[in-house]
Symmetry: D2
Subunit: 339 residues, 4 copies
């Protein structure tokens, strides 16, 4: 069976990356992309890299396309919750990539996103879409909240160690991201002369991925943790590395820590625990790499991924595969660029 999949918000970076992945997905037909400004225009005319891969045109609304089996919501935050209820009503499963359904507590949403949540009904049932940690729940979900790019990288690096009980409920996350994570809208911060040869910390203690990391890390710690997340903009286009700093309850050996991660990720298709995690090894692919180093009674762990793929569109496809009962790696079964 071929599933007809639509994307709401087809022109942003996430929408582009979803297109890139879905046009080569063996079980999927990319059936719709919405774009208000480009409605009626061929997708491959706007995104020339899709020439030869799709002949469809942008439509204005997702409801312009009939018989969709699945929808990816790649709108700006605060807009997805206007789209999801209608899709749920029609029985169309969704992955929301926007952030609207990540925080379980509507009060937290209001605090961090600056507006009231208007779809608390579906928020209750939405599943946090990090397959390596919540696979079973995702399989049964109708609505999955795709995690943030920073959040995915940090949580993959933190969760196993926090669960192990070896560390204090306490972690600093020094996030370092390429610029595509901030979206396609030009701004002073992403203007090349501003960011091209420097490193810039930003949104300290105000970044929306902070409460998401808090929420999931608390689950694995089994109680409240102190997380401080400080994102930094790095002059590369794709890629994130989150360096996560821990205090060990008592000195642990590198071997103990290695064992914890290997146990967690040894059987995973898309998360590898390696001695030297590398953005180049995963860029362009749905793979993530995790690494760690113990130093006395301190430790650091690293979570590395491509912010647009495992950090967004790739993980969304992985979630979709699980939700539709497909092979989890369908359409994602290719390595990173390497060089």
């Amino acid at each position: 069976m071929t599933y007809r999949v639509g994307i709401i918000g087809g022109t942003g970076y996430t929408g582009s990356e979803l297109s890139r992945l879905l046009v080569r997905h063996p079980d999927v037909e990319l059936a719709a992309l919405t774009s208000r400004s480009n409605a009626g225009v061929k997708v491959s005319k706007v995104n020339t890299f899709l020439k030869g891969y799709t002949d469809i045109e942008f439509t204005e609304k997702i409801s312009d396309t009939k018989d969709l089996d699945f929808v990816m919501v790649a709108t700006p935050r605060g807009v997805a919750m206007d789209e999801v209820p209608a899709l749920m009503e029609q029985g169309i499963k969704c992955v929301d990539l926007s952030g609207d359904y990540r925080l379980k507590d509507p009060a937290e949403y209001a605090k961090w996103y600056g507006k009231e949540h208007t779809d608390t009904e579906h928020l209750k049932d939405a599943v946090f879409g990090l397959p390596e940690l919540f696979r079973d729940k995702i399989k049964g979900a109708d609505l999955v909240a795709n995690p943030g790019c920073y959040a995915t990288s940090a949580i993959l690096a933190i969760a196993p160690l926090m669960k192990s009980g070896l560390v204090y409920p306490d972690v600093f996350v020094d996030g370092k991201s390429g610029t595509s994570g901030a979206g396609m809208k030009p701004s002073e911060r992403l203007h090349h002369p501003t960011c091209g040869e420097t490193v810039t910390p930003y949104s300290i203690a105000t970044h929306r991925h902070q409460p998401e990391i808090d929420m999931v890390v608390d689950m694995f710690a089994g109680g409240h943790t102190d997380v401080m997340f400080v994102p930094h903009l790095i002059p590369i286009v794709r890629g994130i590395i989150s360096s996560c700093y821990f205090r060990l309850k008592e000195s642990a050996t590198q071997e103990q820590v290695d064992e914890i991660y290997e146990k967690q990720y040894g059987a995973e298709r898309f998360v590898d625990y390696v001695p030297e995690p590398s953005i180049r090894a995963v860029v362009g692919s749905n793979h993530a790499q995790v690494g760690s180093k113990v130093y006395g009674d301190r430790a650091v762990s690293f979570g590395v991924l491509d912010n647009l793929t495992k950090g967004a569109a790739g993980q969304a496809v992985q979630n979709m595969n699980l939700m539709l009962g497909l092979d989890e790696a369908a359409g994602l079964d290719f390595p990173g660029l390497g060089v």
Copy 2:
């Protein structure tokens, strides 16, 4: 049928990129990679991006592996001609990516490569592997000389216009390449502090892709052309754009020039003629983009590609597909990163 393919020179950038492509090729089993220094080591341990995609180990010599159907020669130049004769003798078809079989005239080889050619026998029959221009010959070949990365980008941009007779037999090629084109050996020129925030012209009038461009452009001009090729190193990792400058015999319109290129490439799977060719549109893929602009009685055309893919390993796979009678796009049927 699944073809067993080996790579001689498996650890360089070209060897890595060949691995990346062949592990997902539907009709191929990656059966051998040679590496003197890594013999006996798992390939995925050296190149962690291949973890989960291949379990084989590096071997010392290609003859260590039996029953190969096809071999990619990705050695340094001057070494391939030592390997090819034995393969030909065993009836194993090859693509040579090293440069040893590109120049038809052994005297030219000696002049530009600084040593005598020792396999002139097979040099005679080797076919220049640019499928969009020499497809039929490639289909029947046992040995294909894969073009250089700069040469591919320049020739794709120059050949149609030269053939048209609209321009003087005269072209300047301003090549601009990412750093991976120069290979994995550290050197002062590729040291990040030296090249990371600058643009450096190099090998002016001495670059080995000069005679290759000369040779093929002459074919399309139907006589001697004056080509001056000046390569520049650009601080990006992957990607080439060659800007090619022409004098028109008489003023031509943009429409005339567009028509020439569209006629040449309109039906091609991997070469697109577009208004604004873009490295980001093709990076990571086997696609190339060509564009042009007329200004009075002058014109510029651009050839854009990923130097490791359409400029090397991807084109080698495309040639292999033709030589084996497979779908030309097998294993290459995916778009560039886009962002």
Copy 3:
């Protein structure tokens, strides 16, 4: 004597760079910077790199500051011609960095700048401010039109060879510029994810530096030349290299060409003729480097500079020094970063 100098347009990149140079100029007091949006704010609060170097505040209009001896006009193009007449009337000498006074022919201005010139009176007397070629005229001028960054790099590389008569009146200019040359206004083209890992040709045959290069090259050729200028955006912040391609009338030797350039620039303080011109050698300084290479009956020459310094603010200070009878190198007497 200390000259009181003001800058109209103090917040753009050119205004910042002028500030950087003028605060350390031994004969100058930086007395005024205008900025509509920042009027009343300390300059060093907006540009923290000036903390400790100036205590002045932005003012709204240049006339808010009395007793100025000299004014730098660093406004967007099309605005300078509204400011200059009043300054000339008050007998205040100016350098205009905006482009409004570069093209001698008002019809050319209208064609390339898209509006009528409204100050043709002063346009007549404005001197094109390239000191190495027009030093004497600059010394006597009240109004100097500071050349464009690309134009400076191209003209320095082209003029000596064109004057020599050794080449046909015919040149292709392949310009490659860092992103700061395009100014501080965020745009899609300068958005880091768009331009950070690629090379983009732009404004082909429509760039405003084209007629400026034409105008000056014609002077040195002693007649009409065919110049085609194609700018490319490169992912570095500061720096330009223009690669200029010539056809020689008859084969010339490298020595002949070297002699031409050495004769032209041997005694210059800010233009060096070197075997391997390098952006890193000049970045941050008012120095330019020129190089060349002969190949048969073709040649290439390179003009290299920092687009904000020798390509804009530094050259403006150099012009000011000449106009005020100061040491030409005053305030500019320091080398490029080197690394």
Copy 4:
């Protein structure tokens, strides 16, 4: 009086940067640069950015030049301690930039530098050359150990807060450095294709700046602190930002923390406490910027500088100025590039 200054190790990045600064120092004559491989060659031929600024030639040994008043030792580590004794004996004051005289405890030196210290006599009297913290001692010193680039950035950010008693004796330092900090020797790690579009943690728990940071932070904490320093390579040429993570003993306000830093650095010429520290603001100059942010009972502080200037050669000149009784800012009195 003009002081005759020599540099041992004149061809490395630190030697180049020292040259850049000393040729424009008002009270200094750059009298000697040593280089075994370039002995007899004009300095400005190797480093073309110095053309017009110095006419001297490289010499083999520092003793080849007579009547030196001061020497900068910019050799690789482990070599300086062979040079310093002779200089001390002749009464020539020195700044050592190599690391040999930074760690007071010879056992620590042996542990981190992998060899025995052979000049413990002068090690005893060497002063750690961070002027903002140890100015008075530096003024009276004959031998100053110039701090490491990472160490300077981290210590400037940590020391005031540690001294305040507001935080636990506990800090994680996430260092992020441009590539020039690693020196001019090509290596796989600094090969552009390896490092150009990624971020790489390296030397975790083994970097030689770790014990240096430990030593100085302990002084300000008044006892043992737990410091974990994790350096990351960033694809920029110049610049460091160290992000330092603290746990507050009890919640402090941003105002309290601001006051601590302002008190420490308010009167300093070269260290500014600013809301948004920026590499671009300081690059090319001897200025550093420090910033901080409180988040609940956690805090982060940032130390930002140009690794070659305030992180090496600039600070060495600042130290020299103090040691010779000159104006501390002599030859360093210019702002960063800004853009």
